[in-house]
Amino acid sequence: MFELLKSSFAINALLAGLVVGFLGSFYGTFIVQRRMSFLGDGLAHVAFGGVALGLLLQAEPFWIAIPFTIIVAVAITYLKEKTNIEIDTAIGIFFAVSVALGVLFISLNKHYISDAFSYLFGSILLVSSEDLIYSYFLAIITIAVSIFFWRRWTYATFDSELARIDNIKVDFDNYLLSILIALSIVVSVKLVGIFLVASFLVIPSATAKLVSKTFSQMTILSILLGIVSSEIGIIISILFDLPTGATIILFQSTIFTLMLFFHKIINK
């Protein structure tokens, strides 16, 4: 049974899990602390609209979904910053419009569209080397950008007004963060599917927040939980022939529940 783990598809899946676990749990700390958990779900569904457009245009869906999702992420940030529309309302509007567009594009498509469904549920066990290269390229960009922006993003997450007073370009930083979250979601959607990607952004960070005393601790713990839970989830799914995305998320939510339980006991 363990021989399966040495196969190339398993190695690719584990490598993909590593990057998806890292990206989701890193950005998740900002998403959870800024109370924007709905953003992950919303942008994943926006990515679906982009994928459907790519399929209609007979182009590589991944490359159409990226600009499509980034434009919407920027538009959501713009509405949040410059109008009195609440962020959940802005996300809700784009979420619905993107799904409607996705359905419309699929219905207009005369070609074979099974690819669209692989994006809905993801296919981490069918990850190609090309997908891995894109994902790792993005992860490297993220790490590089984060070295410069983590302190600013964190300060603005704590209090955007104080950050502005201290001459931090909060608007620019928010747009940059939204673009990188959108990119991460598109990469992750291909691997874990539209329905499940939001949990990668929320559960590890929410779990880390329960037991962290500082935001730095929360960030490190969230990344560790994101990566470890993805890897263990993938191994369990391969060994017991279970759906991978669902196994990872159920494993993550089990850790969350245990942490919540211990947190309640310790703080009694």
Partner: protein, 251 residues
């Protein structure tokens, strides 16, 4: 002659068709302690945020130490926000919050020098025992002092405080005003404070501004607290306010 800390000429701030502030003109010399008093919705916070450069004037000019607020180096201005606006769910310890006042960014790693400076300012504010406490475990008064420590660690030339006494008990308020007194004595900081506490304004500030979208009165506390001025500012004088202390002192 003292330097002009704040110079505002013909300032108006509009949000769409709503006029938050109109025709505000005043200047404040350095080392003064100005309290701003006015009814809710009277534009007090808007004025503070305009001085901070967070809100753009619709008309008029705002100069802080002779420059546009956004051009003033961040270390020259300290700001204590209303504590009700602070996100207490953010996982942070007291020393991390105070250190942002020094560095203008969130720190991942704290050098020995930063630690020492944070410790020193916490001592100044009587918070040395709370250095490693999480902010969600602080009382309102303690959190208020943490934010005061955060703003004075940079030794600002101008300190702006937005209703710092709201939601804290009398003892905490006394501690707070002692720190401000010491700060003025030691560093001659110019202080601008929004408050609802008339008595505090009367006894502690050098200048009082009565504000209700425009300046109703501006000057030394003894001249400002008259029944007529307060009526113009608030429309009426509530029974809860003990005017006697001001009127008697005036007389």
């Amino acid at each position: 002659m003292n330097e002009i800390a704040i110079d505002i000429k013909n300032l108006s701030v509009h949000f769409g068709k709503f006029c938050a502030l109109g025709k505000i003109t005043f200047s404040l010399t350095s080392s003064e302690f100005l309290t701003i008093i006015g009814p809710n919705g009277g534009g007090k916070t808007t004025l503070i945020k305009t001085i901070l450069g967070l809100i753009e004037p619709s008309e008029g000019t705002v100069k802080v130490f002779g420059r546009n607020p956004k051009d003033v180096p961040f270390r020259e201005i300290g700001y204590v926000p209303q504590i009700k606006t602070i996100d207490r769910t953010f996982p942070a310890k007291v020393f991390e919050v105070v250190a942002t006042g020094l560095t203008g960014k969130w720190q991942f790693h704290f050098s020995k020098d930063i630690r020492q400076q944070v410790h020193k300012v916490l001592e100044f504010c009587g918070l040395e025992n709370l250095e490693n406490r999480q902010i969600n475990r602080l009382s309102g008064g303690e959190l208020q002092r943490v934010f005061l420590a955060r703003s004075i660690i940079r030794r600002p030339r101008l300190l702006l405080l937005d209703e710092p006494a709201t939601g804290i008990d009398t003892i905490a308020e006394t501690d707070f005003s002692k720190i401000l007194e010491n700060l003025q004595k030691e560093f001659q900081t110019t202080i601008v404070m929004v408050t609802h506490d008339w008595e505090y304004a009367f006894y502690h500030s050098t200048t009082v501004m009565l504000l209700n979208k425009t300046i109703i009165a501006f000057g030394a506390p003894k001249k400002i607290f008259t029944e007529d001025n307060l009526q113009k500012t608030f429309g009426h004088i509530g029974h809860e306010h003990n005017l006697e202390f001001t009127i008697e002192k005036n007389v």
